[in-house]
């Protein structure tokens, strides 16, 4: 057992030495101020037209959406989306709760919501994609396999190190985002109520399960869901890294899958069997926010099951291939 952790330690040191993790942190530290600044400009502009009264603003958003419902040019599924939005906003107004109370915590919540399907998986890929393939390109794989250790143990140590970094990336995304956006918007907002539990029936919203959750709990749930997505993406990228020889190719494969996912979620609502693809199921935080799923019939349970199945299959494939393949070069 101690020997196994020594191997994990070896892998962790290798990842740190490659400096990929620092790059992830650096990207976050550069991007978050940019988005914070953009958000600040936006809210200043809004303040000009509505004063400081969020209630007037929310009511106007409701009215504008109601108006677009009567337009024939608006596609049906957008109407459903807007009907749901109207009902949720009305619920916020009914309870006199600001859905977008400005603050570092709210910004973090929204930033992670927007980055959970593409940005954070991308960060995870930068570490996961070359974990095995780089050993092959660098030729170090022979050193690795000539040691008196079973191959599956070698691979397991790599997966363990990878999962450790998934947690570190998700946690540091939250931390950096909160610290930087806090400088812009203040560090308050942990206890602001956020409504969760909007149950959607078509275009109707069942309000009987709605709970007022303090924002810190919301962030906790959100982080958990994002972490789950991260683990699944990491395992998939890891499999690709085992299968494909070149690191560049393995990054491209995963990027193509992720990007196709974000395109599909915008247009695949007519093709219902697309819901079994992993990439359209990455938006777990949408369920938490009460947004409608991209394809009918998708629920949180369904998405979790699909993602878990893809992850399990990719782990099995990784191990089978890695333990059986001849290493020639």
């Amino acid at each position: 057992m101690n020997r196994f952790w020594a191997m994990v330690q070896n892998e962790v040191v290798k990842i740190v030495k490659k400096k990929r993790f620092y790059i992830v942190l650096l990207i976050l530290a550069v991007l978050v101020p940019i988005f914070s600044y953009a958000q600040m400009r936006q809210s200043l502009e809004r303040r000009e037209s509505y004063g400081s009264d969020w209630r007037l603003e929310v009511q106007q958003a409701i009215t504008d959406n109601q108006n677009s419902l009567s337009s024939d040019r608006v596609p049906q599924e957008w109407k459903v989306y807007r009907q749901i939005y109207i009902q949720q906003m009305q619920y916020y107004l009914d309870h006199d709760v600001n859905p977008n109370e400005p603050g570092g915590v709210t910004f973090t919540r929204e930033f992670i919501d927007n980055s959970s399907t593409l940005f954070i998986p991308l960060m995870i890929m930068t570490i996961a994609s070359d974990l095995v393939s780089s050993e092959r390109t660098g030729g170090t794989i022979k050193m690795l396999l000539t040691r008196p250790v079973r191959r599956w143990k070698v691979l397991l140590s790599k997966v363990t190190a990878l999962l450790m970094f998934v947690s570190l990336i998700v946690a540091s995304a939250y931390l950096i985002c909160y610290l930087i956006s806090g400088l812009f918007f203040g560090f308050k907002g942990w206890t602001i109520p956020v409504f969760t539990g909007f149950v959607l029936n078509g275009s109707d919203v069942d309000l009987s399960f709605v709970q007022a959750t303090p924002q810190w709990r919301y962030l906790l749930m959100q982080a958990g869901l994002v972490w789950f997505v991260g683990v699944v993406v990491a395992l998939l990228a890891f499999m690709v890294s085992v299968l494909v020889r070149s690191t560049a190719a393995s990054i491209v494969v995963m990027m193509a899958a992720l990007i196709s996912g974000s395109i599909l979620t915008n247009m695949a609502s007519a093709w219902t069997s697309a819901k079994y693809l992993f990439m359209v199921n990455l938006g777990l935080t949408e369920y938490l926010a009460g947004n409608p799923a991209p394809i009918q019939g998708m629920t949180l349970g369904f998405s979790l099951a699909v993602l878990a199945a893809w992850a399990a299959v990719s782990v099995i494939i990784s191990f089978l291939v890695f333990t059986r393949r001849d290493v020639l070069t």
Binding site: Q59, Q66, N67, S167, L207, F209, V210, M221, G224, G301
Partner: protein
């Protein structure tokens, strides 16, 4: 070599802590989402909403304008999207230096919704958010009734011809009593605001087949509205019938039902004249 050990210890302990917290969050979130608890609250009780119980805003010596009602209030047909509501606000704005001590103007909200009827207006007035806006305002511009009488200009678009005289006659009494309810409700929501009701015009004035029935129905409606408004304090009816009588086409937009920019400007002129 020692520094690597430190890196390992640090990343191992940090990631262990992060993993525990994230896994706990995941379990918590998944449970909350998959087995939602009923909140045991009656869902529909907007009357008890905090927003509906607020006091109307205090007079701060400025115009605080809100518009509510149908597509005319919204400004449909105006290519600039301002409608009479925003145009009224612009006209009330102090124009020259001599007027600098005039009232400030805040345009709060335009709650106009295309196709709104008196029936829907009554429902809208129960919404806490709508009530909040109306309480904040001290000048409320109201346009309603055209969709009751004409079903949103459907008669023209479907080509079924004239809105039959008897159909206008039929809806008139009910629509009238709903207008009365709406006016009373507005007054109840905001006891002090000036309420300006924008009268109806006949969009079919230049179509011979439709002119007479339209004119008859609309004059009846305007007369009824005028009677309701005359007995209520702080309410005015701004007539628009004559504005669109002579050269109807010049002041209507392409849909031949809503005013165009020039038409809205004339309505706004009228409203401001009534306020000064």
């Amino acid at each position: 070599m020692n520094s690597w050990k430190w890196i390992w210890r640090l990343s191992a302990s940090l990631s262990a802590a992060a993993t525990l917290a994230l896994a706990a969050g995941f379990g918590y979130g998944a449970r909350e989402m998959m087995f939602p608890r009923s909140n045991g609250m009656e869902t529909a009780s907007p009357a008890e909403a905090p927003l509906a119980q607020r006091e109307p805003s205090k007079d701060d010596g400025s115009y605080r304008i809100a518009a509510i009602g149908d597509s005319l209030a919204k400004g449909t047909g105006d290519v600039t999207g301002q409608g009479f509501a925003r145009r009224t606000a612009a006209l009330l704005e102090p124009q020259s230096d001599t007027e600098k001590n005039g009232k400030n103007v805040h345009f709060l909200n335009n709650l106009g919704i295309n196709g709104m009827t008196t029936q829907q207006l009554l429902g809208e007035l129960e919404e806490p958010g709508v009530q909040y806006v109306l309480k904040e305002a001290n000048l409320i511009l109201l346009s309603i009734g055209a969709n009751d009488l004409f079903q949103g200009g459907a008669a023209l678009q479907t080509g079924t011809g004239a809105p039959a005289a008897d159909s206008i006659e039929r809806v008139l009494p009910e629509a009238e009593s709903r207008l009365e309810q709406a006016l009373d409700k507005l007054r109840e929501i905001n006891p002090s605001a000036d309420i300006v009701y924008v009268g109806l015009y006949n969009p079919f004035g230049d179509i011979d087949a439709l002119r007479e029935t339209g004119n008859a129905g609309i004059s009846k409606w305007n007369a009824a509205a005028s009677a309701l408004i005359a007995v209520r304090a702080g309410m005015t009816l701004t007539p628009t019938f004559d504005l669109f009588q002579r050269d109807t086409a010049a002041y209507l937009s392409f849909d031949h039902f809503h005013p165009n920019a020039a038409g809205y400007e004339r309505i706004a002129d009228r409203i401001v004249q009534g306020l000064r």
